[in-house]
Symmetry: C3
Subunit: 150 residues, 3 copies
Amino acid sequence: MHIAQTRLSIATAPREIKEITAEVARWTERQRISVGLLTLYIPHTSAPLLIQENASPDVRRDLDAFLPRIVPENVAPYRHHDEGPDDMPAHIKSALTQTQLSIPVTDGRLQQGIFPLEHRASPHCRALILTLVGEEEEPARRSGERHCSG
Amino acid sequence: MHIAQTRLSIATAPREIKEITAEVARWTERQRISVGLLTLYIPHTSAPLLIQENASPDVRRDLDAFLPRIVPENVAPYRHHDEGPDDMPAHIKSALTQTQLSIPVTDGRLQQGIFPLEHRASPHCRALILTLVGEEEEPARRSGERHCSG
Amino acid sequence: MHIAQTRLSIATAPREIKEITAEVARWTERQRISVGLLTLYIPHTSAPLLIQENASPDVRRDLDAFLPRIVPENVAPYRHHDEGPDDMPAHIKSALTQTQLSIPVTDGRLQQGIFPLEHRASPHCRALILTLVGEEEEPARRSGERHCSG
């Protein structure tokens, strides 16, 4: 068993949902872990992670349009608005989505596309900490896969 | 330390909240990990996981009734509706709930009931990837438990 | 690679958002893991975890005020109200936030403040299970950090 850890810095445009799959996959593959678990962690409470289909940009746009409908972006109901009217809504959206994700690595590869969701109105430099735990060799004890029947 | 990984396939009925605790617990116990961490991952963005009490089916029904109240199921506000009017609402519900969960294993047993939440209107075959990391023997360094006082 | 696990008990006041960073950090540092991953798990479905800034208490108050706006606290729409009108709303808030979190440990230290979100109207004794996986020594294979440019 091995553990590897790194910190990436990602420049995000305002409210951009930025795809970072390629960068994360490249680092992961360099660690030569065959079977493992990659944990992504964003040490910011106003830029949660979002795992979604990377096929359709419409999915991203619809998600981006949905969140302000349930989390209003105005100063009125909030006490905390030190960094502007988008500050507290960003914290709430973070609490409703995710700041951490653990994704399986199988045959040396990640199982899914990942992109962070940028909830602030201004551009930011976001940190992303990757921690990978796993085996270099395929474990012999790996059990057989099962499929849906009928 | 060991790692074990498998893929289960689960047939879900439309909008079914399907209990999969027994299947997951059976695989986990076969790995003979005494102290560890089991990570469940659903590589679909329209069928998140949900950990809830397995006591009351009313809890499941109420959850199922709540989500459409905040995530409307109609084509109007969404750009993405390639797979029908329940497609984009399922993605949004996924973003608001969870697609991955890590549950402690103590004395060889899982700590909680698990079931996936099926957000689509039609039946699906869902994959679930299990990754278990842990020790076969109880570690000597395990520290004493603490309890609430007063 | 090592694994360590413990169970903390936390007394929470009604709807209190209780900071538990100091207790969690103290246990983590005692394990002498240099690089690792700490997973916090609350085996209750009505007291999810919340990672937020520990700077401003206004952030916590605003979050606490926001959730009842989208999750109404009355018996009317729910079937499940065995433990009172705040029972089912607490389950829904749990499903919308998080019950588990994995936080990186770097140079023997946790990367973020943590506090559980108490969703019930009455005081409770909450369990919190900590599982730490990691290496005592810094791995040589740790790769260089990258920073935002421009």
